[in-house]
């Protein structure tokens, strides 16, 4: 059953990729409950299925079978349009490669996200003042991604992701392209955002140290969750 305070509910989730006549089972019956306001880390080696789980929860790809409810939206029953709606209203992504629109300034990247979400971008800097200050990019909004450092780009990507006030922030190896100092800064930011704003965060990472920033760490292997443990009280 779906726990009443779960913002993410996954039950017996399976995903099979078919390449020609070959079928690869990426997820083999995953069960997961994520309460609102939790910072959850998912770790595992390549091929463990963590990215597939991330993509299904984020509505980027459909499940083969099982039940996935994200922010009240039954993703497993949603079609392409339903998953688009989920991405527009419930979840936001932060990627390893930042994935900012290269032709636009940081400000316009954020405004684009607001525009797609159907929100007004007028005065967004006032609305997002706390986040922009926390991220330390208020003075860098007129710069294009090519004019920003990796750390700054990732902070703009986080600001863009949070601008639409998503129920869940999905971070895919957010420190994978950053040096140690910037990695720590981004992880601290995510923890701050979680504790100050109550932002639910689901982060996948290879880095076990980074994973410790979450409340819980879920270990995946061969398409299954093999261990779940808490990191702090």
């Amino acid at each position: 059953m779906n726990s009443p305070n779960s913002i993410i509910h996954v039950r017996d989730l399976r995903k099979v990729y078919k390449t020609g006549k070959v079928s690869v089972e990426a997820l083999r019956g995953v069960n997961l409950e994520v309460p609102a306001g939790e910072f959850l880390s998912i770790v595992g080696p390549s091929g463990s299925g963590k990215s597939t789980l991330f993509h299904i929860v984020g509505g980027l790809t459909p499940a083969t079978s099982g039940e996935v409810v994200v922010g009240g939206c039954d993703v497993s029953k949603a079609g392409d349009d339903g998953r688009t709606q989920l991405r527009r209203t419930q979840v936001s992504f932060v990627f390893q490669k930042f994935n900012l629109l290269p032709n636009l300034t940081a400000r316009d990247n954020i405004r684009t996200a607001l525009h797609i979400a159907g929100r007004s971008s007028k005065g967004f800097e006032t609305d997002l003042h706390d986040i922009l200050e926390l991220l330390g990019i208020a003075g860098r909004l007129d710069h294009k991604p090519s004019e920003l450092s990796g750390g700054e780009q990732q902070r703009v990507a986080i600001a863009r992701a949070l601008a639409t006030r998503p129920a869940i922030l999905l971070a895919d190896e957010p420190t994978g392209n950053l040096d140690t100092a910037n990695s720590l800064a981004v992880l601290e930011l995510l923890r701050d955002l979680n504790s100050r704003l109550g932002q639910t965060i689901l982060m996948i990472t290879h880095n076990t140290e980074a994973a410790e920033y979450g409340h819980r760490v879920v270990h995946m292997r061969d398409g299954e969750i093999v261990e779940t443990r808490s990191t702090r009280g």
């Binding site: 993509h55 349009d81 989920l86 991405r87 936001s92 900012l100 636009l104 684009t112 979400a117 639409t164």
Partner: protein
Amino acid sequence: MTFKLVWENVRHKPLRTLLSVLLIAGPVTLILTLVGISHGFVEDSKRRSAGVGADVLFKAPGSSLMQFSAATLPDKLVGALAAEPHVVQATGTVVAPIGGFDSMIGIEPTEFNKMSGGFVFVDGHPLDGPDDILVDTWYAAQRKLKIGGKFTALGRDWKVAGIVQPGKLAHVFARMSVLQDLLGNLGHVSQIFIKLDDPAKAPEVVAAFKVKYDGYPAWPMADLQSLLSVDNVPLLKTFIDVIVGIGVFFGFTVVSLSMYMAVLQRTREIGILKSMGATKGFVMGLILAEAFFLGLGGTALGIGLSYVTKSVMMAVAPASLPQAIVYGWWPIAGAVAMGAAVLGAVYPGMLAVRQDPIEALAYE
């Protein structure tokens, strides 16, 4: 924000944008230039036929108003027509095509001058010797002719006796008797121009001619003026339609190719937009808006370039290919360019819409 995205996209790849706009401008310029030449040619013909000063045109049996015919009339008809009621003057002319769109007109100088009010000489003198020709300033400029200079046509050398202002029936004139002799058609003319005591009586006179001279077509000159349009010149409308078709094909192909490249180049960006929740309509809208933008730029540049081709035409062939600027065709050429551009973007747009966001995000 959509405009900003489109604008930044076209700005980000200036060379691709410039090439696309240039290639879309090509068919726009082509359409406007050829339509301009067609209209310019017809307008010039109107102006020149009005410059004769006649009220009725009389031609040989089987001739049509809008087509040149080699059929001739016995020149004794000139005298007979001159004696008809309300006719003040009749004069025959001989038409001899001299290549391309050009003709040399044989005239009886005294009669032609009387009807048309005479040539306005810029240089030289009236027709005198058998080799003399008059050319108008446009033809002189086109063929770089000077007074006393040699001009070869119809298998013989002519001498430029005078250069006159344009607007009198043709661009090149010779003595009618010389042309009749040269064409082996002594005693015959190609057409007869008739001046009446009252131009308003032209329909009545034409009706009387049709009864008396059965089989000989005649038209009030006013009808010729109103009938002289691109739509009434055989093959000209078809020619324009073909050119428009080429324009559509060209614009469609160019934009399709350009947008296909753009979609490929922006695979990752499309993936980013989709990850943010961009709908199919939003992604398709961006691609179509960019194509529309390129079409608009191509149209504006094409219109600008049609002024350049006009300048070139007026410098190179003002007599044979006078080009008009036909404002009425701007929206048509624009619609062709933008329609083709948007159509050409539909397939690349569908590719973008169908892109799997995960694969698109992984695209390097």
